[in-house]
Amino acid sequence: MSRHEKLVGQSRFGPVWAIALKDMRALKASVQLWLPMLIVPLVFGGVLPAILISVVRFSALPAGAEGVSRMGNLDFLLELVTTSAPPALQAQLAPLPGDIERVLYFALTYLLAPMFLLIPAMAASIITANSFAGEKERKTLEGLLYAPISMNQLLLGKALSALLPALGLTFGSFLLYGIVVNSLAYPVFGGLIFPTWNWLPLMLLVVPALTAVIVLATMLISAKVKGFQEAYQLGGVVVLPVLALAGGQATGLLLLGSGAMLLMAAALALIAWLLLRSARRLAQRHQFLEKLG
């Protein structure tokens, strides 16, 4: 018996993992699905910070006092940073040599935070829509329903198959972002600036909770519609408000600190739990085919 068979063979978790693995392999094989999902993190996690830092290092900083205006009108941002930022941030910003450095520091460690909520939300909704509605569209769902697996196992396997790649992608972009920022900005700050401690609860609590909410919401939609396109479009209706809400607050969350993030993660976890409950109630085996006659 191979290691794989051992893993999958016995427990109640076996079928769950089998479904998750099958879907993740299918995702890997589908270039048109994962390539666009890879481009967004590459642009936001690598290209964008690289451009930002390069502009500062090679255009703004050498120009001295003039440099700030070269970056556009940053008065508003500067005022915000120097007056209304919480004391912890003030303390981080104070020792920096000039305003340009302060703006860059603020942008790199706070302003770009929303994209780390955007990436998992985007990936989770696309992968989930594809895995569930796609199964319906390709008429393979009925075959799964004939297998002796509970609907909970099926839902969990499907959820994992979207959750794991979405989180993997997010942590991958986080790593890429950290490498790009720290290596390029090292000469400016003379040290590593990313991540700050506040990123820990953001990445470890808020991001997984948000991803779970999006996966479950898209799953509920997928169970009700016929095809991938429909699920994905409707999924957008769910994803966009969540994104607007959560993404918009990401910088604020970082500013407010771990307490706010704990609250946010707890709220998201509660929503996820409610969604899971309704998914289990709605997705009863005998209801899946009812409409197909």
């Binding site: 018996m1 993992w17 479904i19 075959g143 004939y146 002796p148 085919l289």
Partner: protein, 286 residues
């Protein structure tokens, strides 16, 4: 033993199955016959707990598909009209995946089924490249992977060439004889069913019209027999010609007379095969 007791299933205002009662004995091969839309697929889904009947009860070895669904599904192997294969995966990967769902070791069983159903030539190709017959065979392998005691097959030979059909039917018969697997086959291809089934259930628009062995059905529905004779000079006729016999009882005398009075080469009943019975039932029961 599979038992349907006054089962009614409706989709909206359309009744797919009405007051259906039947028993399928363990170890039998039963043919479920009826035109499209008769309710055959609904019946298979009900048996697996994929649909909930509005009225009536269903049991498989005393277990309810709704309450003990996983146990029932473990006993049943189901092949639907859509084989439901993952087209981007190879045949082997499809079977491995299902083996994982059932929690059974895969490799040995896959080899065994590949031998029996002649899958080796294409087992390691993506199923998207398969012909209909290949898909059907792989679907059958999937249905039998976990050694079910009941096989539910929806059009198992649809799309197979004559060789494939003969192989599959032969395999089903062997499986039934050696391991006592109960088989329920839904099909339109009546001539094929006739060679494997021991009993038949006729379904039309969700209503059971009749059931029985072929002999029982013949005696119930075939009123007069049309017999084709090939003979030289009998009652002024030669070559192939058709005579009527009022019943099976009259047949030996008729043939004996023809043999005595002419050179008789062949005598063949034209209207008592399953197909004739089928059309007779549809005519009489509608």
């Amino acid at each position: 033993m599979i038992r349907f007791d006054k089962v009614t299933k409706r989709f909206g205002d359309k009744t797919a199955l009405k007051d259906f009662s039947a028993q399928i004995e363990p170890g039998a091969i039963t043919g479920l016959i009826g035109p499209n839309g008769a309710g055959k697929t609904t019946l298979i889904r009900l048996l697996n707990g994929l649909l909930r009947p509005e009225e009536g009860t269903i049991s498989v070895d005393g277990l309810s598909p709704l309450q003990n669904g996983d146990e029932v599904r473990r006993r049943c192997g189901t092949l639907t009209e859509q084989p439901g294969l993952y087209e981007d995966m190879t045949g082997r990967a499809n079977l491995r995946f299902y083996a994982d769902l059932y929690g059974i070791p895969a490799e040995e069983r896959i080899e065994e089924l590949a031998d029996v159903l002649s899958l080796h030539a294409f087992l390691d190709r993506a199923t998207g490249t398969y012909s209909t017959g290949m898909k059907k065979r792989l679907g059958l392998a999937r249905a039998m992977l976990h050694r079910p005691s009941v096989l539910l097959l929806d059009e198992p030979t649809n799309g197979l060439d004559p060789d494939g059909t003969r192989d599959v039917l032969g395999y089903l018969r062997r499986l039934n004889e050696r391991e006592g697997v109960t088989v329920l086959i839904c099909s339109h291809v009546l001539a094929q069913l006739e060679t494997v089934c021991s009993r038949y259930i006729f379904l039309e628009q969700g209503v059971k019209k009749t059931e029985g062995t072929l002999d029982e059905l013949r005696s119930r529905y075939i009123r007069s027999l049309r017999v084709e004779l090939r003979a030289d000079g009998w009652e002024g006729r030669s070559g192939r010609f058709v005579v009527e016999a009022p019943s099976y009882g009259e047949l030996p005398a008729l043939i004996a007379r023809a043999a005595a009075e002419s050179r008789l080469y062949e005598a063949r009943i034209l209207n008592d095969d399953l197909e004739s019975v089928y059309f007779q039932i549809r005519k009489e029961e509608s």
